[in-house]
Subunit: 254 residues, 2 copies
DNA sequence: ATCCTGTAATATGTCGGAGTAATTAGAAGA
DNA sequence: TCTTCTAATTACTCCGACATATTACAGGAT
């Protein structure tokens, strides 16, 4: 039996751009429509205030039922992208109403050509939050946290960041730090952003050399957290974010 | 004609606890169901992994159509609270999948008795982000930003924080700062948290005296931003967050 | 000019049925 | 006894038609 591609997520449209996904496990029609519309909105195809085609017209265009369309609209509404009112239709809301930190919204934003300004904003936020997270982790980590970080670090060394296994280890390392902060809000926030940003760099991977060997910088973060030194941990993490920014910038421009 | 209560938001259940909202402007059935279920989940009434009643059974219980129930489930799914799979039913996801920073999720979390630990997490996040926002605002504000802050400050003085108008002015002041950072991600994040937290303190308002006059502390923030002093701005904003924490803590305990 | 008032356009809510997929249990084989 | 395959069950998924409610807009009245 042919193994399904596990990276193909729920709601993705197939390669031909048709809205109707392959009928199979994990594909849902309203998810595909939400994905399509979400990407169109995030990529600036609709301006705030624009009215989407009405329920009936839209459903006929795409040859799907109104139910599927309406459920998709509920998803977009839940994320603050659109608002539906009788007679007025479904309008795209102004950008300040969007839940920009929603994981799916971030994914849609990064699916096309991501807006440079928005990427800058996200990295600015990371540069604020992640060092602070490292600081808290240095204060609150216990033995188990350190073991997780250490293991992830070892895995990063074994595979390099050029491999998927290596990048997974990188994610594990950062997740271990976030977990050590004992702060769910912080974890949710950083996980959302990190996933989106890492996805881009992975997606846009070219066979280019990384600007510099990232392992020593990660080790410095680990050492500071293990030593329970909040200031050093924050500083070391700041370096890591800067590196990621450089990396992403070169990936987007080059 | 009797003016409708504008504070009554879409999706709120009426006072009898019935799911069916008063038929009127801005009330939608699926919104009311999502609100009810969301609050139940956030308040810990369902444990992660719990299965909700099936579509048919649930819809019959509440005497609503399956369509309305399904659209509500789509909203919860979009916020990462539940996951639906054929045969398996609709399950509550583990907490780390929840979009805790979604405005509605925050509202649901604060609608009942908010979890003390979660409130602590949110204030920790605010204490990280808001001073940094003030720092950026000090670097990037222009004349218009300053005028907005100044006006809001004047309004805060006129009405006090005891009145709704005064609290609105407070929100305007903070929004003006956020706008001055020129960072949409930062704005979205802080606005979400701020709205939820302010809502609680307002909701739980008692005729108690504020711990101290907050105006001078706000003025200090304004002065630092106007002077373009990032360090002082961050520090002054830190004081403001601490004050809000004290205020909220006393409101929740007392 | 402003305020009503009617109407058409559009979303919202409902219903029942057909289709699909995953769990579960039971049967068959090693 | 354990494993593997098969089939039934069950709950979600999608559909399309119908009925209702709301409101933007236009046209008339004040």
């Amino acid at each position: 039996m042919v193994k399904e591609n596990p990276s193909l997520q729920d709601g993705e449209t197939d390669k031909e751009g048709s809205v109707r996904p392959v009928r199979g496990p994990g594909r849902r029609l309203h998810g595909a429509i939400a994905h399509k519309l979400g990407m169109a909105i995030l990529s600036g195809q609709y301006q705030p205030g624009d009215t989407l085609s009405g329920e009936v017209a839209f459903a006929e265009e795409l040859e799907v039922s109104r139910s599927a369309y309406r459920e998709a609209i509920q998803v977009l509404t839940a994320k603050g992208l659109v608002e539906s009112r009788p007679k007025a239709g479904t309008r795209v809301l102004p950008r300040n109403r969007w839940n920009l930190l929603d994981p799916e919204v971030l994914a849609w934003a990064f699916a096309g050509e991501p807006d440079v300004q928005f990427v800058r904003d996200l990295f600015e936020l990371r540069a604020i939050v992640e060092p602070a997270a490292a600081r808290l982790a240095a204060q609150r980590r216990d033995k188990d946290d350190l073991k997780l970080m250490k293991d992830a670090l070892a895995a990063m060394r074994r595979h390099t960041l050029a491999t998927e296994a290596g990048r997974a280890a990188d994610r594990d390392f950062h997740n271990a730090i976030l977990n050590a902060t004992r702060n769910d809000a912080l974890l949710t926030l950083t996980a959302s952003i990190g996933a989106a940003v890492n996805w881009t760099t992975q997606y846009k991977q070219r066979a280019r050399a990384l600007p510099r060997n990232p392992i020593p910088d990660h080790v410095r973060v680990y050492d500071a957290i293990a030593a329970g030194d909040p200031v050093a941990a924050a500083e070391a993490m700041g370096v890591l974010v800067d590196l990621a920014l450089e990396d992403t910038a070169s990936a987007m421009q080059g």
